[in-house]
């Protein structure tokens, strides 16, 4: 029922999708201190791919994503689970956060931490879940 989008949509999608994806990663990374975080960022990224999906169809979107959205779910859960493990090496409770601040030359400090990895896991899981549903629905439509 859905025809490939109009020219305006095509052009807009080409430019908007990368922007949205970058914005989602921005939201993900700043989430610990400013509004944002893995869940929101995952939804934004899903929105980006959804736009692409509407414009170009399921097959092209799958190509763009490279990874099957179903696999993304598993990868996301795995990342979240792995982030829970480092605490065990310190004899602390499951999921206790660990921080490894890295001081770059020039005074910038990068704070690597398990909550960050956990958030990335959430991000990937949300993206995978939403896209699994959307792609599956779209493929039903296209048939």
């Amino acid at each position: 029922m859905m025809k490939p989008g109009t020219l305006i949509l095509h052009v807009a999608a080409r430019f908007l999708v990368p922007l949205q994806l970058v914005f989602s990663i921005f939201l993900l990374l700043r989430g610990h201190n400013e509004p944002g975080g893995g869940f929101i960022a995952g939804l934004v990224a899903s929105g980006a791919f959804a736009l692409y999906l509407f414009t170009f169809g399921a097959a092209v979107t799958r190509d763009l994503m490279r990874v099957d959205p179903r696999n993304l779910i598993g990868i996301g859960l795995l990342i979240a689970m792995i982030s829970a493990l480092p605490a065990w090496f310190h004899g602390q409770a499951f999921l206790t956060s660990q921080w490894w601040p890295i001081l770059l030359p020039g005074g910038t400090e990068i704070k690597l931490s398990t909550p960050l990895f956990f958030d990335i896991g959430v991000y990937v899981t949300v993206l995978g879940s939403v896209m699994t549903m959307l792609v599956a629905l779209t493929e039903t439509e296209e048939r």
């Binding site: 869940f39 499951f94 699994t132």
Partner: protein
């Protein structure tokens, strides 16, 4: 000791890999571990024999008083040695018995896991840990009985064993919790060492009955004995290991373990002696009716388990000695006999004793081993079975039991002798009969176990003093909870026990001579036996299925609206009741409200009402969107940007989903009657009222200082984050988030499965799969209550199914 248990599980996990490399040698390699563990446990023998207890502590969940502490005393050492020692030969045996079977690795994995669970069970000091291993043995037993799962009757037998033992396990858990709360500790050590008299505790009767239910079901005591003979559907190594030597003795182990604390009361004695004696007789009686070698052995195992329970019930020092000796003796000869029965089955192709005969020249070693083991079963000198039986009879004669029980014992002993004679003589003597397979002697791997076990029976019978001092008496002392002053000997002199032995021997031989006529007389009783406890089990299972069908059709009728209604009404009733009972409502109106807040609220209300009464789907969707965005506006007004962003994104994605399914939805119409709409409206209003009240109360009543203050204060110093919502999500409450993303993943998988695996897309799929999705008449017309993706996809599915059907009809 923890390592010993864990090693078995680790090795079990390596089996598929090992099998890939070593094929048929795998089981022999695996057997090295229990063999090594046998030696390792054997080094503790002198220490344990001198009355010590070895405890290896390890905390597991200290907050719940659950530890992985292991305790080794006489009783657990005896069990541990039996498990590892017999397990070694079972593994070797199984490797040959199931040689070339495509599922051999799976079998070995489960068998090893069982070995680990059983070892954990007898070594656990903590009651909860013990229970965990207990249930693990039930589950592995289920998997092993059902090994040939392509046969329906095998699956049925496996399920029966599982349901009976797990139902008992449930009672056991209750019993253990009662025991722990009465004794004040989950640790067996601490329970033993405390001075509390548990037998006078008000919970005593309850806990005893629950614990005994667990033990009786596991150890196949009457009226739960029926699952054990059916479990013979398992491959023979399993029958030899689980269903005679080890697992079925778990219940016996538990009773023996708790005997010092719970035993000795009139109730304990009455229950154990009566059930034990009756089980013993039932086993012997049912055994004599059977012609299948394994069934014969299974029923005689039931008889032995009854005897052990009876001895525990008597509870004298002599009875404890008899208990330990009988247990060891039985494990040795019964394990051997099962393996020998398996050999006969394997080599001839039949287990029916009436079709076997004259095998002694073809299978000489098997014949000799069977003869020796059966001698032990019959309790003939100079085998260890004789020592055990004399002690058992001695303990019975010297106890104050009623003469009826003694009569049952004599009858059972006589039948036991007959069973032994049938097993030893029928297949091997007389004229050679034609068998499905050409019989010849079994290979070494199959014979190793029986030969070693029967030799051990013989050696221990010849040197009962030595076996007793190092092995049997320490176990008896653990059960008796005091050092035992006694020794085992082959010859007890002329006494009542010997007389009873002789009488039963004579009677047994008589029964054996007239076995055919005895069987035909007993077959008259068949109608009665068919109405036995097993019939009760089937009626119980039918009842469960009936109730399940009834409640499924009541609760899970496939209508989204009825699901929502029952969930919401339950919530309203329970919460509402608590609310009205516990809290007084104070109207607290001094909240300052700004004009713009009132405007947004009015917008929200108008949109919600519009969504309910509109006559266009697009209108309803738009109205719901307005509701969602208004809520997001509220979040923004009350400075919760994260929530606002999330709300807006979810609303947007909902619109996207709707666009995808919009054209597939059935035409908009009023499906429900006015009365139904009125009822739904009432439910909705009730819920709204309750939620409003709840919010007002949370503002009004503060039972505890709100946790948000703590989070605000510590978010920066502890979690290095200024966004508290995010800190809560990924740090404070990360475990909750982890659970939630798993739920999200599952929901996505569910949606995917519903979309992709439909009857018209998946060939051969269940034709009813489509009906799991809402039937059209229950479709909520306006779909105002929920715009969740899953609902939408459900609706789209049912309608698309319908569409495709129409298409087919059109063609």
């Amino acid at each position: 000791m923890q390592l010993a248990v864990l090693l078995i599980f680790i090795l079990a996990a390596c089996v598929p890999w090992l099998y890939g490399k070593h094929k048929d040698r795998t089981s022999k390699l695996l057997a090295l571990l229990p063999a090594g563990l046998t030696l390792w446990f054997a080094q503790f023998i002198p220490d344990i024999a001198s009355g010590n207890t070895i405890v290896h502590e390890h905390a597991w969940i200290p907050g719940l008083d659950i530890s992985f502490t292991m305790m080794l005393d006489g009783l657990s050492l005896m069990f541990a040695l039996l498990i590892c020692f017999i397990g070694t030969f079972i593994l070797i045996y199984a490797g040959n018995y199931l040689k070339g079977h495509p599922s051999l690795p799976r079998f070995l994995v489960i068998l090893m896991s069982f070995m680990g669970s059983m070892l954990g069970l007898v070594l656990s000091d903590n009651l909860i840990t013990l229970f965990v291993f207990w249930e693990l043995t039930s589950i592995t037993s289920y998997l092993l009985i059902g090994f040939n799962h392509h046969q329906a009757d095998v699956r049925k037998a496996a399920l029966q064993g599982l349901i009976v033992t797990v139902a008992g396990g449930l009672a056991l858990l209750a019993g253990l919790v009662m025991l722990a709360s009465a004794a004040g500790s989950y640790s067996l050590q601490e329970i033993f060492n405390s001075n509390q008299v548990l037998t006078e505790h008000p919970l005593y009767v309850g806990m005893l009955i629950c614990l005994l239910l667990g033990a009786f079901t596991k150890s196949a005591q009457f009226p739960f004995h029926f699952w054990l003979p059916n479990a013979m559907a398992a491959p023979t190594p399993v029958s030899a290991y689980l269903h005679s030597a080890t697992m079925v003795k778990a219940g016996i182990y538990l009773m023996a373990r708790l005997q010092p604390e719970l035993g000795g009361t009139a109730l304990w004695m009455a229950l154990l002696t009566s059930f034990g004696a009756f089980t013993m007789f039932t086993g012997a009686f049912l055994a004599i009716r059977s012609t299948d070698l394994k069934k014969l052995l299974a029923y005689s195992t039931v008889m032995a388990l009854g005897t052990l329970t009876l001895l525990l019930g008597i509870g004298t020092e002599l009875a404890m000695m008899a208990f330990a000796a009988y247990l060891v003796g039985h494990s040795l000869y019964k394990g051997a006999l099962f393996m020998l029965a398996g050999i006969v089955d394997h080599e001839t192709g039949t287990r029916d004793v009436t079709q076997l005969g004259g095998l002694r020249y073809l299978m000489p070693i098997t014949a000799i081993c069977t003869l020796v083991a059966a001698f032990s079963l019959a309790g003939l000198p100079p085998l260890f079975g004789f020592v055990a039986k004399e002690l058992m009879l001695d303990a019975l004669v010297q106890s104050s039991l009623s003469k009826w029980i003694l009569l049952l014992v004599i009858a059972s002993a006589a039948l036991g002798v007959a069973v032994a004679a049938i097993i030893a003589i029928k297949p091997f003597f007389g004229t050679l009969q034609n068998t499905p397979k050409k019989a010849h002697e079994a290979p070494l791997e199959l014979l190793a176990g029986p030969v070693v076990l029967t030799t051990l029976s013989l050696l221990m019978g010849l040197m009962p003093g030595l076996a007793g001092q190092w092995f049997v008496l320490p176990a008896a002392a653990s059960v008796w909870a005091q050092p035992i002053d006694g020794y085992l000997s082959l010859w007890h002199g002329f006494n009542w026990a010997l007389l009873i032995s002789l009488i039963s021997l004579g009677l047994g031989i008589l029964v054996f001579k007239r076995w055919d006529s005895v069987r035909s007389i007993l077959s008259l009783l068949n109608p009665l036996i068919q109405r036995g406890p097993e019939a009760g089990y089937f009626r119980f299972m039918d009842g469960i299925v009936y109730i399940a069908q009834w409640q499924t059709s009541l609760l899970q009728n496939g209508s989204m609206r009825s699901y929502l209604r029952s969930i919401i009404l339950t919530f309203v009733l329970l919460t509402g009741y608590t609310l009205t009972q516990r809290y007084q409502l104070h109207w607290n109106w001094d909240v300052s409200v700004y004009l713009h807040e009132i405007i947004v609220a009015l917008l929200l209300i108008t949109a919600a009402v519009t969504a309910c009464i509109t006559h266009s789907r697009l209108g309803a969707v738009a109205a719901m969107g307005v509701v969602g965005y208004s809520i997001a506006l509220f979040f923004t007004l009350f400075s919760a940007p994260d929530l606002a962003i999330t709300q807006i994104l979810v609303e947007t994605l909902t619109v996207i989903l709707l666009v995808l399914v919009l054209f597939r939805l059935p035409g908009f119409g009023n499906i429900s009657t006015t009365a139904e709409r009125g009822r739904d409206a009432a439910v909705a209003i009730l819920t709204g009222t309750l939620i409003t009240l709840l919010i007002m109360i949370t503002i009004d009543i503060q039972l505890f200082p709100p946790i948000s203050d703590y989070m605000i204060e510590n978010s920066q110093p502890l979690a290095y984050g200024r966004n508290i919502v995010n800190v809560i999500l990924v740090d404070y409450r990360a475990l909750d988030t982890l659970g939630e993303i798993f739920v999200l993943a599952l929901a996505a998988m569910g949606v995917y499965a519903m979309i992709k695996f439909r009857p018209d897309t998946a060939p051969g799929a269940n034709q009813y799969a489509g009906t799991l999705i809402l039937p059209p008449k229950n479709l909520s017309a306006s779909s105002t209550e929920d715009t969740q993706p899953s609902t939408l996809s459900k609706q789209s599915l049912s309608s698309s199914t319908k569409l495709s059907k129409n298409k087919q009809e059109g063609n």
